[in-house]
Symmetry: C2
Subunit: 359 residues, 2 copies
């Protein structure tokens, strides 16, 4: 996998987008904004109307020969749809934007050299064309996954597509891609689901004590289960190995807790700390020293906005914000993350405006 991509081709259009959901419509909006002619197809006439109404392209009249076809249908239909458009348009390059990159290959027979899979690492807990945005891919990684027979020109056009949408193209193989997303996306989702499942039948007075930790751990479990069931099934080959490793780790941890093995327990917990440090920082660069500034904010309309206005006036760049959501809390605790050397400046500025900060 490498951040540098092949020599850029160009998306000259027309581009046919098959599937006017969140991703398809967002690509249509980005390409249309760049002046590329976009044609849209969707089995759902309302999606088609909405997407073209938003300016993502025009409904495909069926008379134009596209330069590039982008398949943006649900994961389980990707393989067959790619095969079908490869057959329908014998001169077009074809890509898709599905979450799994090896499984579609088994459906392909002819024209495979014109197909290069891809996967923008962008999305939303929302879905459908109304959630779409030309800026959805801005600065995001977009995995480009040529297979053994992909033509270099096909790779170039798909890289150009990613760039036209504002994304950063990352070249990798279908197999490596599927292993990577299993580890950094599919298994974390499964873990969140299993934890959330434990809460489904928990007594409500137990849940009343829930804090930020359990909310963070389970958040992604709220995503569309139909979509995720497809993804897990299609990527089962790559997902099972880390899940089985997780099973073994859980078994060892249960034994360590049950057997009172303190050293073994500490060992597992410390490995978790190392894992959190392995996730690359913002922009993938080495972490800069940062510091959190905590501020109490009354839960009244306008208070949070007033804090942000005051923080803005302090002249300190805010890297990140977290808001504490504990139930029963009339006072919110807001964490402003700033460069370590600017923290005192922010604290002083906020305190001089009457904010209660926590040092």
């Amino acid at each position: 996998m490498t951040g540098s991509a092949a020599a850029p081709g160009a998306v000259t259009g027309p581009v046919l987008i098959v599937g006017a959901g969140l991703l398809g419509t967002s690509i249509g909006l980005a390409l249309s904004a760049a002046g590329v002619a976009v044609l849209l197809r969707d089995r759902n006439p309302e999606h088609l109307r909405t997407a073209s109404g938003l300016g993502a392209g025009v409904p495909d009249p069926g008379e134009v020969s596209p330069q590039l076809v982008v398949v943006a249908v649900p994961p389980e239909h990707v393989g067959r749809t790619v095969a079908s458009v490869l057959a329908e348009f014998e001169d077009a390059f074809v890509t898709d934007v599905g979450s799994v990159k090896t499984e579609p290959l088994v459906h392909l027979t002819s024209g495979v050299e014109r197909y290069v899979g891809s996967h923008p690492m962008a999305g939303s807990e929302r879905s459908g064309p109304l959630a779409a945005s030309a800026a959805l891919f801005d600065g995001r990684p977009w995995a480009i996954t040529p297979h053994d027979s992909s033509a270099p020109e096909a790779v170039e056009v798909v890289v150009a597509l990613a760039r036209s949408c504002g994304a950063t193209a990352i070249l990798t193989t279908p197999t490596e891609h599927d292993r990577a997303v299993a580890t950094i996306s599919h298994v974390p989702y499964v873990v969140a689901v299993l934890m959330a499942g434990q809460l489904a039948d928990a007594p409500s007075d137990h849940l009343a004590l829930a804090g930020q930790g359990v909310r963070d751990v389970t958040r992604v479990a709220a995503s569309d289960p139909q979509l995720w069931a497809q993804i897990l099934r299609l990527n089962s080959g790559a997902v099972l190995a880390p899940l089985i490793a997780l099973q073994a780790d859980l078994e060892a941890l249960v034994a360590a807790i049950g057997g009172g093995e303190g050293a073994k327990l500490l060992d597992v917990l410390s490995r978790g700390v190392r894992g959190t440090h392995a996730i690359p920082g913002k922009h993938g660069g080495p972490g800069r020293p940062i510091r959190s500034v905590f501020v109490s904010v009354p839960d009244h309309p306008g208070e949070l906005a007033r804090l942000f206005a005051d923080a803005g006036d302090s002249g300190v760049n805010i890297e990140d914000v977290h808001i504490d959501h504990d139930p029963g809390r009339p006072m919110g605790l807001v964490e402003l993350v700033v460069a370590e050397e600017r923290a005192e400046q922010l604290l002083g500025s906020l305190e001089s405006r009457g904010w209660v900060t926590h040092r």
Copy 2:
């Protein structure tokens, strides 16, 4: 468990706080601000100096008879320390602020009627007196866990302590408390650790694709492993049952994915969605309709602050903020959560100031 508490006693002082870490020092700051005399003890002279320097109380001269002793030492020392202060001060009420409430009881022999355990649901990934704040407990739940022999006056004083610190007292039993925190705190931590552990040895080019989901799931795994090892060991009785249930669910899920059992898989994933809905909303009330407004923010100093200033000027109350941290992203995506009926006003206001929003 009930939100209504016993008739309020009063914290008249002096209060002796044993352990001047994050919680002990924060309680000292809150009580001192309320005009209560606070004495401090800590085996670490530097913690003692820091805490008293911050205004959390004065080092215990050993000549005063306290009304209330608050034990705020690491979890594994709570039981013995409570027993020791019950013996040292024969007229004092005693509480502790540890995360596990049944285990300390086994260490107690005499004076048990003067002891009532408690557990403020507040903390930080930071520790030590320097991280302390008088506002740490503002509006947070604070579990009060009388045992069978606790005197009513002891309960009243500990309820008053929680209220003096700005918290909401929640009465429950030691056993119910330990089961509740197992489900909503200890097991979520374990799950985060297991997931983070999978990342510790993952190839860095796989981790380069990591998005917000895996960061959320693993965040709490960065917490102090020494402290957590104590908590898990002391609460093993309550933690093991949900962990074993989790093991069974994981096994069933692995079988469903491996066997291609779509209906079973969807069933597990849908239960996860239900679990996320079971967590009470902000203030424990029913959820109001909210909407997320997405804004692209260039990653330059001052841009995020400028957004917050402009959002503040829009007059719309911002309920929550999330910032997207995908690596390689020169443009940040900021999610502002607002009441549904105010979203258009915020969008219009931000767009009129040149912000790129995503509808």
